[in-house]
Subunit: 323 residues, 2 copies
């Protein structure tokens, strides 16, 4: 574990010079062992300078390791356990295997080989994105599970706005949009009896450092890096999402209605003409409100108010432009 | 498989004499082999008489084997796969292991060693009861999962009434009562995303052939055998429950509202003064209605209508007797 100790020492002094001699002495190892650990860290992507003054970690690598995520994470519950993998078929599927156990567990992978979105659609998950699943155990009945989904959408929107100054809107039911293009999607799965949830697994996919050419969905999708013109440190993004989600899920359990209000304010769907594609057919109308039961209220052209619980939604005209 | 073939021959002619010679000839085996199979079946509990006229199966044993359940089962979907065990920790837990696969799978055990009821309470499951779990995959969103529970309660009530002429009432949320005492309980568990259920596991426990002394809950519980004064053939009961549940779940997916109406008519809770014990405290009031979202509407003494989604319910006075 010499390598881990050296790493911790360098991360602790990020940007400052640390004497190799002092580092070796404080860890009770040889200077050669320090050098070996530094070489191994460099191979992993850590940028470490060496000079007469010692070693200096000049930049953290953009990796999603447990260490890098945990460094500076300000949460009580989320991330107590972090399972970081190079590749997984699906982080949601993996998280469900752990769902009986600990709340707050985070499963994350650099690549998903069989990522899934809503309606069993495949979800393109190449290197450079954030693909993660979080286990929550809110004390709510399954009829209110949609509130977890609302909390997650609001939390991710807050994180992207707070870190990168992006204006993030929500497309019903649960896509996060920047400039009208999708930057993140959420897939919440639950296990429950009729009295309460056993678990909720919140799957969050974010197009973080992805080039337009790597994006599934073509012109309908975007990434953070292509919106802000630089790469982001994904570990920092993960931390911020976990912190915002912890806050939002506390708000959710307090049942204040604030999250639903924020969802509505951030909505890119409300006030628009939409086409709804549901199991039993499709129709068009004006999206009027997010109801207390999580459904989208759509005013059909004939005047009838339809409550849509599940389905797809196509935006037909820009918000505000009504017929 | 000689034993199985002889068994099928005898079950097919239940109550009639079948010549041993003819049975041997039709199966292409010796008369000694027929005799050996008969001895083995007797050892298992089949009552088989022997005389000069041959063999006669006079009664089926009260066992919950796949064969005995399947014999004469009139369902399309439920029971396509029947997993019958001598003992399981919990049939719901076992069914959830199979829930990703086939709809209609039935898991049943003579004894549960760690049976569970609502709110993680233990559920006493000795020999003589019916402890089973059925996998359904209705195309409904998780917010409507309570409808599976309603369908199951109505189905079991119909089965017990149809087979034994018992008057069966439903105590909210999901106990089946005869003469004010509990005869059956239902525990529905689901896996879902926000668009639809992945599966529902309907756990049904019925106090079938149990003596009052074997019953958990003492004077608050009863069994079919103690109500009707004779033991029942549990395989027949299982068949009837599966048939009624298949019908009720089709009604449920058709969304007609009939099931909720029947639930209300059969309710032992509506119209009564009740004490509700919910997560956030307890209160008393008059149970007024089962709402469209599955909650119980209770009129508090102050006049406020409270909608209870999850909790326990204590009946305070007989129905009709109001203050």
């Amino acid at each position: 574990m010499t390598r881990e100790e050296v790493k911790r020492g360098l991360i602790g002094g990020l940007g400052s010079w640390i004497s190799g001699q002092e580092l070796a002495a404080s860890l009770g190892i040889s200077r050669a062992a320090v050098w070996k650990a530094v070489a191994s860290l460099r191979a992993e992507g850590y940028e470490i300078e060496a000079s007469k003054r010692g070693y200096r970690l000049s930049a953290l690598p953009d990796l999603l390791t447990e260490d890098l995520i945990r460094e500076g994470l300000r949460t009580e519950l989320l991330g107590r356990r972090i399972i970081a993998s190079e590749a997984l078929p699906s982080t949601n599927a993996e998280a469900k295997r752990f769902a009986a156990s600990e709340e707050g567990t985070v499963v994350i992978a650099e690549v998903q080989t069989a990522g899934r979105g809503r309606m069993d659609r495949s979800w393109h998950s190449p290197r450079g994105g954030v693909w993660m699943s979080i286990i929550l155990k809110p004390q709510i009945p399954p009829a209110q599970a949609f509130r977890v989904n609302i909390a997650a959408a609001v939390a991710v929107a807050r994180a992207l706005e707070g870190l990168y100054g992006l204006e993030v809107k929500i497309k019903w039911p649960n896509d996060l949009m920047v400039g009208g293009r999708k930057v993140s999607g959420i897939l919440t799965e639950i296990g429950a009896d009729m009295d309460r949830l056993d678990y909720a697994v919140v799957g969050i996919g974010i197009n973080a450092n992805l080039d337009p050419g790597d994006l599934a969905g073509g012109w309908k999708a975007t990434s953070i890096s292509s919106e802000i013109g630089r790469k982001v440190l994904r570990a920092e993004l993960v931390r911020r999402v976990l912190e915002e989600l912890e806050g939002a899920s506390q708000e959710m359990e307090a049942s204040s209605g604030r999250l639903q209000e924020e969802w509505s304010i951030r909505s890119e769907t409300l006030g628009r003409r939409v086409r709804i594609l549901a199991r039993d057919g499709e129709f068009e109308g004006l999206a009027e409100a997010l109801e207390a039961d999580g459904s989208l209220a759509v005013r059909r052209d004939g005047g009838l108010l339809e409550r849509v619980i599940a389905g797809d939604c196509v935006h037909l005209r820009p918000a505000g432009e009504r017929i």
